[in-house]
């Protein structure tokens, strides 16, 4: 049989570029087909910007009546806000299909993903790319530049590289949260509530952890780790002398959280289709 011989070759031939190549193919096609809907792109982007601007306005309003938040000034808060927006963009752009998960699971369509010879999570997530996230990217970058300038932070190769590392690890945390939330649909029927519930928390990532008592600092560092989406990474820039150990640990913690959420998602997928292992 042809297939048996090819089996052995397949396992070797699937090199490091297997998944990246497929991903690139799929999202290129997805973007192409979405570009046919120009109006939708514009309206969605405006909707996205509306939420971002509303956040901005909220800060502005607070600072109209109050001088600071726990010792944090207006531009420092804007920095945190912009940083969080940038960290929240990858989950918006690349992991959008999580929102469709409960519908696919409920309707039974999800099984079709189980028949392909590749990682289930990868295959499912790669289906959609949400181009309106680009709007948030631009707004977040703009606000960050604005705050960066007003805070007089240094601009160097080192600080840029650090920023990229910080943003990457921060984005993994939100991705992990949404993965876990979406995966609850394998156990709970109305998991949309869970996703919306956790999604609301992204709005709290822009506040410094110092406002909470020690108990809730722990909660927001470990249970619902929004502290890692903006606060801990930003300490390097905003409170350089006061950098918490968690700041240095954030990349590791982020990767662990992401891996944990991935495992949880896969466990749910396996359970749903009935393979308990």
């Amino acid at each position: 049989m042809i297939s048996e011989q090819r089996e052995k070759k397949e396992k070797l031939r699937r090199g490091a570029f297997y998944y990246p190549r497929i991903y690139l193919m799929i999202i290129t096609q997805d973007i192409k087909s979405k570009m046919h809907y120009r109006a939708d792109f514009y309206i969605s982007t405006i909707g996205m910007l509306a939420t971002n601007i509303a956040g901005f306005i909220s800060f502005w309003l607070i600072f109209q009546s109050f001088p600071s938040i726990n010792g944090w000034t207006y531009y420092e808060m804007l920095f945190l806000y912009a940083f969080s927006l940038l960290a929240l963009t990858p989950v918006q752009l690349f992991f959008d299909n999580n929102w469709a998960l409960r519908f696919n699971v409920y309707s039974g369509d999800f099984v079709k993903y189980c028949f392909r010879p590749l990682n289930l999570f990868f295959y499912y997530i790669s289906e959609t790319i949400d181009i309106k996230g680009a709007g948030q990217l631009v707004f977040g970058a703009g606000t960050l530049v604005y705050a960066w300038h007003h805070l007089g932070l240094e601009v160097s190769v080192q600080s840029m590289v650090l920023l990229i590392v910080a943003l990457t690890s921060a984005s993994l945390v939100m991705i992990a949260m949404m993965n876990a939330a979406a995966a609850t649909c394998f156990w709970v029927i109305n998991s949309g509530t869970v996703m919306i519930f956790l999604f609301r928390f992204k709005d709290y990532a822009k506040y410094p952890m110092t406002i909470y008592n020690i108990g809730f600092q722990i909660v927001f560092s470990i249970l619902i780790p929004i502290g890692f989406i903006a606060y801990y990474p930003s300490l390097i820039y905003l409170r350089a002398q006061d950098v918490s150990i968690l700041t240095y640990l954030s990349p590791i913690i982020a990767v662990l959280f992401y891996y944990g959420s991935y495992k949880f998602w896969m466990r749910g997928a396996m359970k749903y289709s009935g393979t308990g292992s």
Binding site: S3, E7, I22, M25, Q29, K112, F115, P117, L120, T275
Partner: protein
């Protein structure tokens, strides 16, 4: 060559919450811990060789899709052993997936808004199909059904028939050793059905791919399958070739008559028609009368008497308002197997 698919005493039991109806019931269910066991598949064993085309029949809820899910590796059985291509499907999902093809009649597995050729290209990468194999297969597909005309059409814009066609082609693209087709001809018109049956038949023959075909359509079964398995209430009640099955139901067709007069038929009426028909034509001794709501049904064994002749005779007995001719349903076949014309008990072995 060893069996491609081998099942031994496969059993699947589901735990289901006992739900109650009504407002009060729903509220009490909020606190309920009352579960019951549902045996979906009950000690099913079978062995399928390379290149076979097997029809897998059964009424809805009989356990068909559960068995298929187990065979394709997405559901783990509660008990029993199974091997597909020499490996345990649910323990090696991706490896197993590399070597099987699956088509669900209604749900396309292709990318919805992409031109179908892009789907094929992505599949080529996904299954690591060598260029040559890909090229040969695409050419073969084009020769068989002219698929190149559809290349630039997004699946979303295709008719059900075109979509099914592409799904089936896609399932054979990577030269799997087994393809599972779940109700491939459902919802299609007659010409599309025969086109699809032809396609499946050729692919099975040329590529020696084993095909497991789940269907409700006896036309599919007759056109394609040499071997039939029937599952009912989780148990495999029949596993034999189609000739044997034909002994059970022959080449029956049902003549349905809507009378301009009667709208219901009693047992006495049916007996009366039986007698009257027999008097007109002695060959109709095995014709069975029944009723289906307002329709009078006449089950005609076509190897004994042609349906047209029966129709002719019936016209003199009953004023016609409307007439239908139907294939025998799988349900009737299964009922007939239970009733057992030849052997008393349903058989399990080939």
């Amino acid at each position: 060559m060893g069996a491609v698919i081998e099942l031994e005493n496969i059993t699947k039991v589901f735990r289901v919450l006992n739900r109650h109806a009504g407002l009060r019931g729903t509220f009490t269910d909020l606190f309920s811990r009352d579960y019951k066991n549902l045996v979906a598949v009950d000690h099913v064993s079978m062995s399928i060789e390379e290149g076979e085309m097997v029809g897998y029949l059964g009424p809805n809820g009989a356990g068909k899709s559960t068995t298929i899910k187990i065979m394709t590796g997405i559901l783990e059985p509660t008990e029993g052993k199974l091997l597909v291509n020499g490996r345990v499907p649910y323990a090696n999902r991706t490896l197993n997936a590399q070597n099987i093809g699956v088509v669900f009649g209604q749900r396309s597995q292709l990318w919805w808004s992409l031109p179908v050729i892009e789907s094929f290209r992505i599949l080529k990468e996904m299954y690591c199909i060598p260029d040559k194999v890909y090229k040969n297969n695409m050419e073969m597909f084009d020769e068989l059904v002219g698929v190149s005309e559809l290349y630039n059409k997004p699946v979303r814009q295709m008719s059900l028939g075109q979509r099914t066609l592409c799904d089936i082609l896609a399932s054979f693209l990577h030269d799997p050793s087994v393809v599972f087709l779940d109700e491939p001809t459902i919802g299609l018109d007659v010409s599309m059905k025969s086109k699809i049956r032809e396609l499946i038949s050729v692919l099975n023959r040329e590529k020696k791919t084993t095909v497991v075909l789940t269907t409700h359509d006896m036309g599919d079964v007759e056109a394609l399958c040499r071997r039939i398995m029937i599952i009912d209430h989780g148990k495999l009640i029949y596993d034999n070739n189609i000739q044997q099955l034909k002994q059970f139901f022959g080449s029956y067709r049902t003549l349905k008559i809507l009378s301009a007069g009667n709208v219901s038929f009693s047992e006495a009426d049916l007996a009366k028609y039986g007698r009257q028909l027999l008097a007109l034509c002695p060959e109709t001794r095995n014709v069975v009368f029944g009723s289906d709501e307002e329709w009078l049904t006449v089950l005609v064994p076509e190897d004994e008497i042609s349906l047209i002749k029966v129709l002719d005779h019936m016209q003199t007995l009953i004023p016609f308002k409307d007439v239908r001719i139907e294939e025998i349903t799988t349900e009737s076949v299964i009922r007939k197997i239970y009733e057992g014309n030849c052997d008393a008990k349903p058989t399990l072995e080939a």
